[in-house]
Symmetry: C2
Subunit: 501 residues, 2 copies
Amino acid sequence: MFWYRNLIKLSTPIKSKTPITKNLLQASLSHFSTANQPPASAQAQPSGLGPTKPHDKPRVVVLGSGWAGCRLMKGLDPKLYDIVCVSPRNHMVFTPLLASTCVGTLEFRSVAEPIARIQPSISSAPGSYFFLANSTAVDTENHEVHCETVTDGTDTLDPWKFKISYDKLVIASGAQASTFGIHGVKEHAIFLREVHHAQEIRRKLLLNLMLSDVPGLPEEEKRRLLHCVVVGGGPTGVEFSGELSDFIRRDVHERTLIAGFPNSAWKLEDLLEILLANEILSSFDDRLRRYAIKHLTKSGVRLVRGIVKDVKPENLVLTDGSEVPYGLLVWSTGVGPSPFVNSLGLPKSPGGRIGVDEWLRVPTVQDVFSIGDCSGFLESTGKPVLPALAQVAERQGKYLAKLLNKICKDGGGHANGAKDMNLGDPFEYKHLGSMATVGRFKALVDLRQSKEAKGISLAGFVSWFIWRSAYLTRVVSWRNRFYVAINWLTTFVFGRDISRI
Amino acid sequence: MFWYRNLIKLSTPIKSKTPITKNLLQASLSHFSTANQPPASAQAQPSGLGPTKPHDKPRVVVLGSGWAGCRLMKGLDPKLYDIVCVSPRNHMVFTPLLASTCVGTLEFRSVAEPIARIQPSISSAPGSYFFLANSTAVDTENHEVHCETVTDGTDTLDPWKFKISYDKLVIASGAQASTFGIHGVKEHAIFLREVHHAQEIRRKLLLNLMLSDVPGLPEEEKRRLLHCVVVGGGPTGVEFSGELSDFIRRDVHERTLIAGFPNSAWKLEDLLEILLANEILSSFDDRLRRYAIKHLTKSGVRLVRGIVKDVKPENLVLTDGSEVPYGLLVWSTGVGPSPFVNSLGLPKSPGGRIGVDEWLRVPTVQDVFSIGDCSGFLESTGKPVLPALAQVAERQGKYLAKLLNKICKDGGGHANGAKDMNLGDPFEYKHLGSMATVGRFKALVDLRQSKEAKGISLAGFVSWFIWRSAYLTRVVSWRNRFYVAINWLTTFVFGRDISRI
């Protein structure tokens, strides 16, 4: 009720405010460079947060709210820094569980963690902010980020631009799904990287299932509607296929298909297909991969080799000229650099990512760091570019939070304040292993540090149990841990929900 | 795994199928009049379900999946009837709890009940179906309903038409929100009747709150963005306002508003407004209404008298010429007949609803019944048109299910089979009372049968407790009861979720 008490105070004339509230307000407002300008000019020229003063807390600006950015913000000490996050979404997506939400095993909200729950100071400390915006450019000379706000969903506001000065900048804006320049992918395929993608997949899947039941639809069209194609054989594609097979076998009632395919010898394999350009689950060892192939095939997932040439509204065209009709197309072929990262005039690592040194700094400029899928070690470091995995991003976020806290404690928090500082140990990545579920009660766990190394690799029920437990303990908040457990329980007891809302 | 076993069987050549499956298939398919037609002609001319044969089970066609239709389907005996439901949504919305979902007190899925969970035979019995479609016309001469399928969400299919023959038809397609012909309501206001309305309100509310925090927005524009206007003072409008006030006071952090309104004496009353054309909660007694007004005002909801003349994208124009800027506009001024009901050539009750007799039959034609918000007693019955309430619809559905079961048992299930049958007791409505929550831990309960009658009326914490318990026991499935309880618990412990997904 603190806030309400504050409101009551605010509702009395401004002069009677208590000193504490006043200080809070002033501290908060001193950053708004346009606070006293008239509204017209505020829109005419970009406004924002001006440079911090030497006696202010230094400001860390974080671009992005994925694994890397959120783990960083969680670890930053709000007593040392003001934290400003710029991202087009106000939550982190717990990506390893996203595939489960498409078919209703988990609720969408259970895999979305609001940033304010990860780092509470972002919504309470004066000088710390979350801005719903995209970053458009970085002016490293002037220590400024240029941003443009996101206004999708309102028809009365055009996006507007603003600038934020930083003392330390962390670029953690992530990568984007690769389309390899194939025509039609963006228009017709659905990626599986955000909650709204999972929502779209769910809505489309249920719509297709229901429409296939309505009389008057030619059989060929029914076949097409019910044909789900997943392009790409990585963990996301495999997990989604496993979940989908399980959903169709257990929760969609038999009648849909019996009525839908009266005259044909119908098989589940006609429904689910993973289209592979190369090996399935290529990061896992051969034994686990054979297990996955066997289990997926048994679950009715057809594994097909093929390379997509063109995506049309109703079918895929492969390089061998054959056409694959689809009702739902999920595209999960890995990630590449985003246009924002491409546009930055910073050194690049192999693969076009932002190049960083051993301390995750961009070495050519002052006070700019980069972590997560958008960054990679420069060739000069002699280290390989790390894979685009949640565990890499998370470990980098954790490391950089510690490093930034140390820099501030050593007096280098402000802009250009850490020029010749000893940064201590560089970032070292140790791979903890890979996990992927391949359907009900079955998963792969590969605890070796690399494909060549020795170690434990498991497949089956025990793996599945490890997989669930591991994720459950890593979901960030207690609220979401609780919800994930409850979701799994109710799915087990009542089955998945099939209402299309 | 029954279905999977079936699939395995289906994957072998069709002749080797077991007799049981074969019979199931034949029974199911004999209804598809176009099952053997080539695809082209199936699309060219409407296909569908032909008339039932004398030795088949008679078919009840239910138009709509609201309180009335779903309660009816729940009560119908699937051993007596084949049940076919035609509706643009595959679930029932538990409307009394819908307002709570807008601010995240409850999850959207907790208030949506799939029809297949209400009446399992609809997805398993051969001859029973759910069709995702709108009904466009009723041919009472030929006992046929004309339908058109809903294909929003797929860009590769145009809607197509089909016909369904009925033995008994129940029109339970509901009403639509009244706009009183005011220009701009449909374009700019959000109703609160479906789950997607609640989702839209939530997304818009969170967007406006976040945008108001971004630098560069003039203060006047911030004021507008944060101004939520609810038009209409019925239970829905009041409950939504109570929830919204609670959400803003407890879950939206103080900083949004302090930073957003640096130079003004800001009050919660500037944020929330209910615009009333006449009395608030007019169906409740004066004492309860005074309590509601007092409590809402205390919670920061401003109650304003005014009649809307025009709705523009950024403001309302009232009949007195004044303009009310808004960032979110919720329209909840009651309901009126839908275009479908208006188009039917059936007798009408006062208010333009489908006219029914004491047994909820449309008296001028054979085998047509109507229940819920779309129907009303004919003037000739001497009974008043019942209010558009969930409890009326539910009671009518329950009554009609019993009546139809009785008709079938007495041998009148098929078309024109119940012409001179004694239908037994007519439908009697007994009002059980009204309930509305007015914010955290506070509700009104009015257990009198009418405004003039004597009885119990309560306001406060006890009422709130009764309100919650009453709804919890009336949510249809155990799964949703469990989820509603869990949602309430986590909201109490962790607060509401603010991620905008």
